[in-house]
C-alpha cells in the first residue's frame, strides 16, 4: 500500500483535531452524482443518477449500480475509479469468505471488511483516502440491510438515506416520506421521487440506475423496468 518513497501518512491531523484529507474527500463525495437508498419491509432499493456529459456517451455500458454477490449490491457517490477498486475488493472478500465458511457473507461482515480497507487508506504511507461514499444493500438472515461506508472508514446502518449532490434535501425529503411498513415497490417509487428532487433536466430510464435486493437476491433493474416506474411519476 505504501509507495516506495513514502513511509509516512499523508493524512495528518489539523490543530483542531480534524483530518482535513477526509473532510476534502467528503467534499468530493458531496460533489458527485446523487444516490439514494431505502430499506423496505421486504427488500432494499438503491438508485443513482447516471448523467452523461455528452450524447456521444454509450449509455448502459458502464454501470454505477454493481452486484457484489448474489445477495449484496452496491452504489456510490464520488469518484468512479476509486469505486471500481472497492467493488473488486468487495467481490474478492465475499468469495474468500465463502471459500472459508461455505456460507454467503453476511452484509454487515462485508461492510466491516470494506470499511477497514477504507480506513487503512487514511493511516498508511503515500496514499490518499478514497473519494467515494458507498451505499451497500443486502439480504441475509431473512431481513434486508442498508449500509453507508464513508471515506473515513466509518459505516452507518440506515433505514433510508441520500448521498452526493443535494443530499441534505434528499434526506429531508426521505424523513417525511419514510414509513416502517413500506413495501419494496413503494420504496422504489419513493427512491425515484427523491432522485427527481435535485435532478436537473428530464429524468429518463437512460440517465438513472436502480438496483433492488430482496429474499430472491440482488439485481439491477433493466431500463425497460425502470421506464415502467417512471411512467407512474407525475
Amino acid at each position: 500500500m505504501a509507495s516506495e518513497r513514502y513511509s509516512f501518512s499523508l493524512t495528518t491531523f489539523s490543530p483542531s483535531g480534524k483530518l482535513v484529507q477526509i473532510e476534502y474527500a467528503l467534499a468530493a463525495v458531496a460533489a458527485g452524482g446523487t444516490s439514494v437508498g431505502i430499506k423496505a419491509s421486504n427488500g432494499v432499493v438503491i438508485a443513482t443518477e447516471n448523467k452523461h456529459k455528452s450524447i456521444l456517451y454509450d449509455e448502459h455500458s458502464v454501470n454505477k449500480v454493481e452486484m457484489i454477490t448474489g445477495h449484496i449490491g452496491m452504489v456510490y457517490s464520488g469518484m468512479g475509479p476509486d469505486y471500481r477498486l472497492l467493488v473488486t475488493q468487495a467481490r474478492k472478500m465475499a468469495q474468500q469468505y465463502f471459500l472459508m465458511y461455505h456460507e454467503p457473507i453476511p452484509t454487515a461482515q462485508l461492510v466491516q471488511r470494506l470499511a477497514t480497507v477504507m480506513q487503512e487508506y487514511t493511516q498508511s504511507g503515500g496514499v490518499r483516502p478514497f473519494g467515494v461514499s458507498l451505499l451497500i444493500c443486502g439480504w441475509d438472515g431473512d431481513r434486508p440491510y442498508l449500509f453507508q461506508c464513508d471515506p473515513s472508514g466509518a459505516y452507518f446502518a440506515w433505514k433510508a438515506t441520500a448521498m452526493g449532490k443535494n443530499f441534505n434535501n434528499g434526506k429531508t425529503f426521505l424523513e417525511k416520506r419514510y414509513t416502517e411498513d413500506l413495501e419494496l415497490d413503494d420504496a422504489v417509487h419513493t427512491a425515484i421521487l427523491t432522485l427527481k428532487e435535485g435532478f436537473e433536466g428530464q429524468m429518463t430510464a437512460d440517465n438513472i440506475e436502480v438496483g433492488i435486493c430482496d429474499a430472491a437476491g440482488f439485481r439491477r433493474l433493466e431500463p425497460a423496468h425502470v421506464k415502467d416506474y417512471l411512467a407512474n411519476i407525475p
Binding site: L99, M100, Y101, H102, E103, P106, Q109, Q112
Partner: protein, 232 residues
C-alpha cells in the same frame, strides 16, 4: 547425511551419524459417527497408545466445539491437540465478529481450509465432525489429513476405520442386501449399532479398546454416555 546411502555401503564415512527426527507419531484410536433426521451421534474410544504400549486408557477424543457441533479426532495426538485448540480459537473469533455461533456446515468448511493450509506438512489427524445443520438435520463430515471433506450419513475413522466402515455400509446403508425397505434410522438403533460396532473394533484392533464416550447431539443440546470395552 552426505556420503551415506543405504544402497552404497562402500561410500559410508566413519564417524558420520545419520540423525533422523520423526515429527509424527501414531497414537491410535477410532471414531464412529452416525447422522439421523434430527440427531447425530458420535463415539470415540479412550485408548491412547504408541507401538505396543498404552499411554492411557482414559483419553477423551471427542471435542465439544459448540452446542451443535462435536469433533472427533484421532491419529497423532499432538496434532490433534493443536488442531482442536486452533479450531476453538477461530470459532470464538467468529462469534465475536458475527455476534452468533458458527453453524456446523461453516465449521466443516473452515476445518477443511485449515487442514489444507498445512498441505506440505500436514496435521496427521483423522477427523470426523458431527452435529446439527442450519435446517435441524443431523450431519456427519469426514476428512482426510489434508482437508478433503465429504458429508455423509455415517462414517468410521481412525485405526479401526477400515474394519468398521463396511459394517456400517451394510447395517445403515443397507448395501448388498436384498428385500430391505428403507426407513429413517431412530436414535436408539443408531446408539445400539454404535456400541456393537466398537465392540467389534476392540476385538481385532489393538489400538481400540478400554471404553468409549458417545455424544448425542440434538436440537436440545448434547448428552454424554460412557460405555466399557475390552481392556486387552
Amino acid at each position: 547425511m552426505l556420503g551415506i546411502n543405504d544402497n552404497f555401503p562402500e561410500y559410508a564415512l566413519p564417524g558420520v551419524k545419520k540423525v533422523h527426527f520423526e515429527p509424527y507419531a501414531d497414537n491410535g484410536g477410532s471414531i464412529v459417527a452416525i447422522a439421523g433426521d434430527d440427531f447425530a451421534v458420535i463415539g470415540a474410544d479412550t485408548r491412547l497408545s504408541t507401538g505396543f504400549s498404552i499411554y492411557t486408557r482414559e483419553q477423551k477424543k471427542l471435542f465439544k466445539l459448540s452446542d451443535q457441533t462435536v469433533l472427533g479426532a484421532t491419529g497423532c495426538w499432538c496434532d490433534t491437540l493443536t488442531l482442536t485448540r486452533l479450531l476453538q480459537a477461530r470459532m470464538q473469533m467468529y462469534e465475536h465478529e458475527h455476534n452468533k455461533a458458527m453453524t456446523t456446515p461453516a465449521v466443516a468448511q473452515m476445518l477443511s481450509t485449515m487442514l489444507y493450509y498445512k498441505r506440505f506438512f500436514p496435521y496427521y489427524v483423522s477427523n470426523i465432525l458431527a452435529g446439527i445443520d442450519s435446517e435441524g438435520k443431523g450431519c456427519v463430515y469426514s476428512y482426510d489429513p489434508i482437508g478433503h471433506c465429504e458429508r455423509s450419513t455415517y462414517r468410521a475413522g481412525g485405526s479401526a476405520g477400515a474394519q468398521l466402515q463396511p459394517l456400517l455400509d451394510n447395517q445403515i446403508g443397507l448395501k448388498n442386501m436384498q428385500n430391505v425397505t428403507e426407513a429413517p434410522l431412530p436414535k436408539e438403533k443408531a446408539l445400539a449399532l454404535l456400541k456393537d460396532v466398537f465392540i467389534s473394533a476392540a476385538e481385532r484392533d489393538i489400538y481400540t479398546g478400554d471404553s468409549i464416550y458417545i455424544l448425542i447431539i440434538t436440537a436440545n443440546g448434547i448428552q454424554e454416555e460412557k460405555f466399557e470395552l475390552r481392556k486387552d
